[in-house]
């Protein structure tokens, strides 16, 4: 703070956006899309891109609360297990307990919400570190799903049930609408509301936030419950998309989600991040996976590229940050 602050010019603003993590990431995405488009002509088509939107919805939905949680300096490893639990509860309450399907859907999503609430309660009230708490419930919730289902799958849902996962609305996959609306709403909540500011404050200095009179515990409980709710919704969408429930649904999705969030510029130590960045992270990963598969790579092998992009993007970001810090 040696020189007096001057009003930012338009060029300064542009520069700011260009060298933000979102800007860098957007650039990487643009380059990779162009590169992939030259490799195969099946990639850059409306049909294919919309189809990819269908596939990334579950990760995208879970990535929103995950961004919130990581901004506060926490983490939620149990989202994949919650997703599986919600899916199993949905199928089980419909097929075994004989609930009407509408009620079964609600029960499934509610069970996810409850699972998230349990996470939050232990983290806030008992003071278990989030990483450990959600590591324990990663096993616990998956175990509940396996125990309830006894390895049986539930299938044979009525036609209307598949609308969300397989249907279209105005030519766009139904669940993509849901994702777009959710991203917009919660992006604004994070960037423009008191809740959003509180999350950044908690992530930067939790004790400071407490002393400033923020109800830190209530915020944390809220976002972990929200995370469970979103995982529950994602579980419902997943069942609707693949037409069956299995207890291993969503296994390992937590790593995809965290990779997308971190790639999107959210610091794993908390305090910074945005929903826009996360969204670009989710889209970039999905496009890379799809484009590389279409270019002839084994679909499992695309993770090499994704891992490299993750490390590379953080490297570039660190480099830019240190340059900015020096100037």
């Amino acid at each position: 703070m040696q020189s007096a602050p001057r009003n930012p010019t338009r060029v300064d603003k542009l520069r700011h956006y260009l060298i933000s993590q979102e800007g860098v990431l957007f650039f990487i995405m643009l380059v990779s899309v162009l590169l992939l488009a030259t490799r195969t002509d099946k990639f850059l088509t409306v049909d294919n891109l919309l189809q990819q939107g269908r596939f990334m919805t579950e990760v995208g939905l879970i990535a929103i609360p995950m961004t919130y949680i990581i901004i506060t300096g926490g983490i939620d490893l149990s989202v994949g297990s919650i997703m599986g639990l919600a899916a199993i509860v949905l199928g089980w309450s419909w097929q075994t307990l004989g609930f009407p399907l509408e009620l079964a859907i609600i029960t499934g999503v509610l069970s996810g919400t409850l699972a998230g609430f349990v996470n939050g309660l232990f983290i806030v009230r008992v003071g278990v570190p989030p990483l450990i708490m959600t590591l324990a419930t990663l096993a616990l919730f998956r175990g509940l799903a396996e125990g309830i289902s006894q390895a049986r799958s539930a299938r044979g849902y009525p036609e209307w049930f598949y609308q969300l996962g397989q249907g279209e609305l105005l030519g766009i996959p139904t669940q993509l609408w849901l994702l777009i609306v959710t991203v917009a709403v919660f992006g604004i909540v994070l960037a423009r509301t008191q809740l959003g500011r509180a999350l950044y404050a908690i992530g930067n200095n939790e004790t400071g936030a407490r002393f400033s009179g923020l109800t830190v515990n209530r915020y944390l409980l809220l976002i972990y419950t929200f995370s469970g709710f979103m995982a529950g919704v994602a579980g419902y969408i997943f069942v609707s998309r693949v037409s069956t429930t299995r207890s291993d649904m969503g296994a390992g999705i937590e790593l995809d989600v965290i990779a997308a969030v971190v790639l999107g510029g959210t610091s794993i130590f908390g305090g910074t991040g945005s929903i826009l960045g996360t969204t670009i992270g989710v889209v970039l990963i999905q496009l890379l996976k799809n484009g590389l598969t279409l270019s002839g790579l084994t679909s499992d092998a695309t993770i090499v590229v994704i891992g490299s992009v993750l490390i590379f993007a953080i490297l570039v970001n660190n480099f830019i940050l240190s340059r900015r810090g020096n100037s």
Binding site: L131, T137, A139, L255, V304
Partner: protein, 471 residues
């Protein structure tokens, strides 16, 4: 129980008694067959050894191996007693309790039961295994009594219930004993040598990987790529062996390659300042992808006969157990007494203070990740030589098992505290729980749920304990 005192508490020589007694017991295992008892022929151990020879397939059925296993456990405990003077009395109490329970159990069940049943074709019986276990327990309680009588240069810690749970290791040990005794009462076959040996040997590789992980977490970092790395290195080792490389080379190369990957991770974390969770999240994908592209889903088979390190049984003890115990003791001593080991704790406890004390963060982080890579290499060899087939995919969710073992073993995820003894014992506890569920007839589908609850319970116990200590 981490203490950073300037001068370590002076220790009485007799504190080493625990080790001495364990050595005697192990010695007895080998000597007793040569001693005959008047009127009863050879000693029970000798009978069992003979019956073992008589039944070539029965190596697992005699119950004999319980003896060295338990003795090794005691050796571990004895050394630990010496390492953690403040905990010695708590452990002694636990041992005494175990001995007492075993005595009651013995009087109820074995007074008139021969260790080797002739009706059983000379094979050891379940009761025989338990008898052996009893023998060990009695020795343990003798150690306990003696230790309580040892005069100490340090003022003796007061006997309090809270002291019993003075550290996470005691909690786990207590849990393990409780589990074994309760499940053993419900289904004596649980205590059969075969089950205990399978539990120890089959999962020893997780404990070895957890050694590296514990060190990494102590420095305030984490490594979630271990599962992929074990998968990759196992295939590297197996393919080398199939290609005709001598077995020692096939065992050593994974260590070197693992160290290389560790160095890469360490470089990214230490010099380019990327958080370790991000680096290893990326490496997890990269390594798994390399594995998939490279092996194309083909399992490795037809390894030469001399390759199967984990199936060897020097002195009748499965090799994985020996590796696990030796490495755990070695690393525990190294972490406690070496300058680098102490520096790891210092770095994790307070990075800024460590820097101001002249410790190089970069070098320490490099060191810890390279070491971790080498331990992952060892674990992968133990894994790949376990069966005659090496799977082309990494063991599922192995990184979570390893991290869970470290965390349940008392390592604070924030760095600075924890011991490798704790992580090894936690690995054992988690796997004994797993097999206990089979023996008390709980549907395996509930296994993960119970495991999750138990992790939670352990962590909660730890938190409560810390909270009470703070008061």
């Amino acid at each position: 129980m981490k203490k950073d005192k300037a001068a370590p508490a002076p220790r009485h020589t007799l504190d080493f008694l625990g080790i001495a007694l364990a050595v005697v017991i192990i010695g007895a295992y080998f000597l007793l067959p040569f001693i005959t008892q008047p009127g009863r022929g050879p000693s029970t151990v000798a009978v069992l050894t003979e019956s073992k020879k008589a039944n070539e397939l029965g190596i697992f059925k005699t119950g004999l191996e319980v003896l060295p296993l338990a003795a090794l456990g005691m050796l571990l405990l004895g050394i630990w007693n010496v390492l953690v003077p403040g905990a010695a009395r708590a452990i002694s109490l636990l041992l005494a309790l175990a001995g007492l329970l075993a005595l009651v159990y013995y009087i109820n069940f074995f007074r008139d039961t021969p260790l080797v049943s002739p009706a059983n074709g000379g094979e050891g019986t379940v009761m025989g295994s338990l008898g052996m276990a009893f023998w060990i327990m009695l020795g343990a309680s003798a150690v306990a009594v003696l230790q309580a009588l040892i005069p100490r240069a340090v003022p003796a810690p007061r006997y309090r219930l809270a002291k019993l749970f003075g550290n996470q290791e005691s909690v786990i040990l207590f849990g393990l004993l409780l589990l074994v005794i309760v499940v053993g009462l419900a289904n004596p076959r649980y205590l059969q040598e075969r089950n205990i040996s399978d539990n120890l040997a089959g999962n020893a590789y997780i404990a070895v990987a957890a050694l590296g992980m514990t060190m990494v977490i102590i420095t305030g970092n984490i490594d979630i790529s271990v599962g992929s790395l074990v998968g990759l290195l196992a295939v590297v080792s197996g393919r080398l062996a199939v290609a005709g490389a001598p077995a020692p080379l096939a065992w050593l190369v994974p260590l070197v390659v693992g160290g290389g990957f560790g160095a890469l991770i360490g470089f990214l974390v230490a010099y380019l300042r990327i958080p370790s969770i991000v680096v290893t999240l990326g490496m997890l994908s990269i390594i798994k992808g390399i594995l998939i592209i490279w092996v194309q889903g083909e399992r490795v088979t037809d390894m030469p006969a001399g390759y199967f390190l984990s199936q060897m049984r020097p002195l009748g003890i499965p090799m994985p157990i020996i590796i696990m115990v030796v490495l755990t003791i070695g690393v525990a001593l190294w972490m406690r007494y070496s300058a680098t080991g102490r520096a790891f704790y210092a770095l994790g406890g307070n990075a800024e203070a460590a820097r101001l004390s002249g410790l190089s963060r970069r070098r320490l982080v490099m060191t810890v990740f390279v070491l971790n890579g080498v331990f992952v290499g060892v674990a992968s060899v133990m894994y790949s030589t376990q069966f005659n087939i090496i799977q082309a995919t990494p063991p599922p969710a192995l990184e979570l098992s390893v991290i869970t073992a470290s965390v349940v073993g008392g390592v604070s995820i924030l760095g600075g505290t924890g011991t490798v003894v704790g992580s090894t014992m936690a690995t054992l506890l988690l796997n004994f729980i797993r097999s206990a569920m089979i023996f008390i007839n709980i549907s395996p589908f509930w296994l993960k749920a119970v495991q999750g609850l138990l992790i939670l319970a352990t962590v909660l116990a730890d938190l409560l304990r810390r909270r009470r200590q703070r008061l």
